[in-house]
């Protein structure tokens, strides 16, 4: 791996980290419950992107399955939370 790609991966991970910190700010500040659900959805997708970047960093395709699972579980979690906000029940 060249120095250029290593530096780019470091810069990208730092940018993701700052973005996740800013998203966590929205998660803690609210003000409404739907804002927190939106921030959680954002954080799960950025976490999935971190997995994909780590796959390039460590030159391993094993991270791909982890990223796919994070997409699916993030979707299920966001839908469950949004359904709960809509109805007060997840499964009716």
């Amino acid at each position: 791996m060249s120095a250029l790609l290593a530096a780019a991966i470091t810069i990208t991970l730092v940018l993701y980290l700052v973005a996740m910190a800013v998203g966590a700010l929205r998660l803690f500040r609210g003000p409404a419950a739907q804002d927190r659900v939106l921030a959680l959805d954002f954080l799960s997708i950025v976490g999935m992107l971190v997995m994909l970047v780590l796959a390039i960093r460590y030159d391993s395709e094993m991270y791909f399955e982890g990223a796919l699972l994070m997409v699916l579980f993030g979707f299920v979690g966001s839908i469950a939370l949004a359904k709960f906000l809509l109805r007060g029940e997840v499964i009716e």
Binding site: L13, V14, Q34, L52, F75, S78, K83, L85
Partner: protein, 116 residues
Amino acid sequence: MNGIAWAEAVVALLLVASGALVLVAALGLARLPDFFLRMHAPALVSTLAAWLVTLASIVHFSSRGEGLALHVWLIIIVLSITAPVTTIVLARAALFRRRQAGDALPPPLQGRGPDR
């Protein structure tokens, strides 16, 4: 520069672009004044930033001389199915909760009846 170096340069460019996009989306999520405005910002991540990272991954794993590595495309397909569903359900939940609380709703669409 040989082919591998070109591929690494392309991967580096795509990754840094996606990092900048994610940061823009996070700033939008933190700074926009209303929930329905804030919903627009994370869409940037689940569309363009995810596409850029996926393309970077495909270029990187295809440049090793073992053929095309297109399986990462599956993430884009799954994401393009799930992201609109999440957005719609969350927007409906937010509309419902605002209506219940009696808060200000966004203005109705032009040329539509009041049965929204």
